[in-house]
């Protein structure tokens, strides 16, 4: 643990990140967006209600809205923060010098990933006071809040690892970023769309259709779907009944994420430095 905390890349990135004005501006904008939505929600709800109440049920809906917005913001920010970590060093011409040091590829990749993710965590922690508005009105169980933040953490780690991988494999930051956004969009929107399509398609066969595991399998890597099943256990039950799979979606999600994180990090570490042995064995001898 000590060696992890003393990771030189992590240390340097913290310094660079917190010395940049952009970081503070990022936190400010993030909180403004989230705050406007939270306050705006309360305003709209109480404005339309005759008595001006804000009931626990509405507080619960507000929490769901805030959580979904927060998830969207996380999905929006993670690629931006991670898809440039290696390609950015390459573009600034600092990567070569970093690679000729004694630091292991693993230490460089993990240091880069953790530094970007720590910044996201800082943003999430900074948003906690906004969530406390929900506690004023009740309606949300502490377990749900913990599950939500756990889901954020896993999602950040997954998208972040994918970002680092694309940043290692692709020379240009902009292309790496677009690819990571593409994958994030695929995991959230496209799989949801396909799942809905699959449900609708099979319901054409009448009410007594066979069980269909396809929507479940499609949603295994979808953080938004998992968040919905956390909020609405009834939807989880429906999905499980329909698919005939008895494992809760969040467990499958954790499993998918673990697989994605491990493979992306493994590829990043293996591809960061050239394989000095090259492909010489395949070449004819001269």
């Amino acid at each position: 643990m000590k060696s992890l905390l003393l990771n030189p890349v992590l240390n340097k990135e913290f310094k660079l990140r917190l010395r940049s004005f952009k970081s503070y501006l990022g936190i400010l904008i993030y909180l403004l967006v989230l705050g406007t939505i939270g306050i705006g929600f309360i305003f709209l709800t109480t404005m339309n209600a005759r008595m001006g109440y804000f009931r626990p049920e509405e507080s619960r809906v507000m929490f769901m809205v805030l959580s979904m917005v927060q998830l969207a913001l996380i999905l929006f920010m993670t690629p931006g923060l991670t898809a440039g970590v290696i390609s950015g060093e390459r573009e600034r011409q600092t990567l070569n010098m970093l690679l000729t040091t004694k630091q292991s590829s693993g230490s460089i990749i993990i240091g880069k990933l953790l530094s970007s993710l720590s910044f996201l965590l800082l943003i999430i922690v900074a948003s906690l006071p906004l969530y406390s508005i929900t506690f004023l009105f009740g309606g949300v169980a502490p377990g749900t809040i913990l599950a939500t933040f756990g889901l954020y953490l896993v999602t950040i780690l997954t998208i972040g690892s994918l970002g680092v991988m694309f940043s290692t494999l692709i020379r240009k930051t902009i292309v790496a970023m677009i690819t990571t956004y593409g994958v994030a969009l695929f995991l959230t929107a496209f799989t949801a769309f396909l799942a809905m399509l699959s449900i609708q398609f099979l319901s054409l066969g009448g009410p007594n259709q066979a069980q269909n595991p396809i929507p479940y399998l499609l949603l295994m890597g979808n953080p938004a779907a998992v968040l919905i099943t956390v909020f609405e256990p009834s939807m989880q039950k429906e999905l499980l009944d329909q698919s005939g799979i008895s494992i809760p979606l969040w467990i499958s999600y954790l499993f998918t994420c673990a697989l994605l994180i491990t493979s992306s990090l493994w590829i990043s570490i293996a591809k960061l430095r050239p394989n000095m042995k090259g492909k010489r064995s395949k070449r004819p001898k001269e």
Partner: protein
């Protein structure tokens, strides 16, 4: 000691390095000269474990760069031809980061950094942000970075490029100091004449091949075949021109002034003596018979003149 054995690097059909072989003794300063794209940076990148060769290999202190790159990294300090810096770090922090990357203990780093900054004449800039340093200062800071883990071998790719004359002199003085410390230095440049006084030997790269190696004087010897002779006569210039045109070893005879001719001579020192004897035998009124002084720049131009 650095030993490069049959080192080859191909990019598709393009051969950047072609079967290069060279041995550089411990403690020597080896200068690599060649036109852009000749393969200098490719060679250095392979030695710095940043690029895998297509075939062949290189050994540093007996360690194979392709087999044990992580061990090689402990032995070398590499300065790329183009490099960036982390702008929001101060000079001291910049060195501290690399020191940490080499696994140097924080206490040691604390003592080492002022010494290194002193060596590269940047002691007063320890708390200055790197982005506000001049180009020359950044180059020197980068050199200090190469030295942080006290490597035996320094691989410096164009360390003086883009520097003004004063910064170049400063860089050269630092390199002299490093040479005195007993480091093996591999250095490339296209301003080699300036560095020639500190290079023990030179290698000339052209089209991915080492076309000449040896000490500065040995390379000059190797190229003596193509020396230029200047002859001044008191009068009878036309007869002198006629005489030298008849000599098989003399080529490209040109009249430079009313009393001076210049020509290329493809012969040894003995041939040169014979030529002078012959000329005197023909009663030519020779005032002077000299060889044009060639410096390294000329040698470089001579060697690489066939290269586009």
């Amino acid at each position: 000691m650095i030993e490069i054995v049959n080192l080859t690097k191909r990019y598709g059909t393009f051969t950047a390095l072609d079967q290069m072989n060279v041995t550089i003794e411990k403690g020597t300063v080896f200068g690599v000269v060649g036109p852009n794209g000749a393969g200098k940076s490719t060679t250095f990148s392979i030695l710095a474990t940043l690029l895998a060769p297509t075939s062949g290999t290189a050994y540093i202190d007996g360690i194979d760069v392709t087999q044990n790159p992580s061990k090689i990294r402990e032995y070398i300090g590499y300065m790329p031809d183009f490099f960036g810096v982390y702008d929001s770090l101060k000079a001291g922090e910049y060195l501290d980061f690399y020191g940490a990357s080499y696994g140097i203990h924080p206490k040691e780093r604390e003592a080492l950094i002022p010494q290194l900054l002193e060596l590269v004449n940047l002691a007063h800039k320890k708390d200055t942000y790197v982005d506000s340093l001049s180009r020359g200062m950044k180059q020197r800071l980068c050199l200090a970075r190469c030295l942080i883990h006290d490597p035996e071998v320094l691989i410096l790719d164009e360390p003086a490029s883009g520097l003004d004359p004063r910064a170049r002199v400063e860089m050269r003085d630092i390199l002299k100091e490093l040479k005195a410390m007993g480091k093996t230095i591999l250095i490339s440049s296209h301003i080699l004449p300036e560095l020639s006084e500190m290079c023990d030997s030179l290698g000339v790269i052209e089209n991915g091949q080492l076309v000449a190696t040896g000490s500065v004087s040995a390379i000059q010897q190797q190229l003596k075949a193509n020396k230029v002779l200047i002859v001044t006569v008191q009068h009878e210039l036309d007869r002198a021109i006629q005489f030298f045109e008849d000599q098989p070893l003399a080529v490209d005879i040109r009249k430079t002034t009313e009393t001076e001719i210049q020509f290329g001579f493809n012969g040894s020192d003995d041939d040169q003596i014979l030529l002078l004897k012959e000329a005197l035998h023909h009663q030519l009124p020779i005032l002077s018979f000299t060889e044009e002084k060639t410096d390294l720049e000329d040698i470089f131009m001579e060697i690489t003149k066939g290269v586009e």
